[in-house]
């Protein structure tokens, strides 16, 4: 986890990129607030998919480092959001929200 929140100067490995994606999705799911949660999930999925086709080394490194920066913000905000209560919106199922339903 700690190695994932550091920026890199060489090409990040496949495991590292997937690990970062994994952690970003997990942090996004921590948001109690439907709108924040869905926004961060959507944004994370979109950004990683968009950068999937990158082949130039410096662009991959830049994209990775950018994602690391966003991950630190995401992690902090997710933790902060856990300190507050949000009422469920009408579009949400009232029981436990499972990850599978949101895909």
């Amino acid at each position: 986890m700690s190695s994932l929140s550091k920026s890199v100067s060489t090409l990040p490995s496949r495991t590292k990129v997937l690990g970062l994606y994994h952690n970003m999705l997990r942090s996004s799911l921590k948001f109690d607030n439907y709108n924040f949660r869905e926004y961060f999930l959507r944004k994370t999925r979109y950004e990683f998919r968009k950068n999937m086709e990158l082949t130039e080394e410096d662009k991959i490194i830049a994209a990775y480092n950018d994602a690391v920066k966003q991950f630190t913000v995401l992690k902090r905000q997710a933790t902060i959001s856990e300190m507050y209560h949000f009422d469920k919106t009408v579009v949400e199922p009232q029981g436990k929200v499972s990850g599978a339903e949101k895909n």
């Binding site: 994932l4 997937l18 994606y21 994994h22 999705l25 997990r26 799911l29 499972s98 990850g99 895909n103």
Partner: protein, 119 residues
Amino acid sequence: MFSRALSRYAFSMATRRAAIASPRIGMMASVKSYATLPEDQVSKRIIDVVKSFDKVNSTAPITSTTNFITDLGLDSLDTVEVLVAIEEEFDIEIEDKDADEIKTVGQAIDYIVKNPDAN
């Protein structure tokens, strides 16, 4: 004399510590065995999670040998998403090094069955 007293003291401390420690060990063991889920339930729940993933073609049968990438046509990012959905379902966190190893439905079932925190 003094050393004898000391050793007796050490002995009594040891037994006392053992007496304190033993019920705790017993409790932990029972919690652990209680928390491990039966394999048939786990496999049913995992298959349901995988089926509900919208990029999975639901007509294809999903068994424990189903590979996320070669059989279900998912890519590496989708595989991570399926694992996150499984994490949510069982209320656990899969370590990155373990997540890397899970490539089939069967491996995911194994991981959950062996994980005492899964529920």
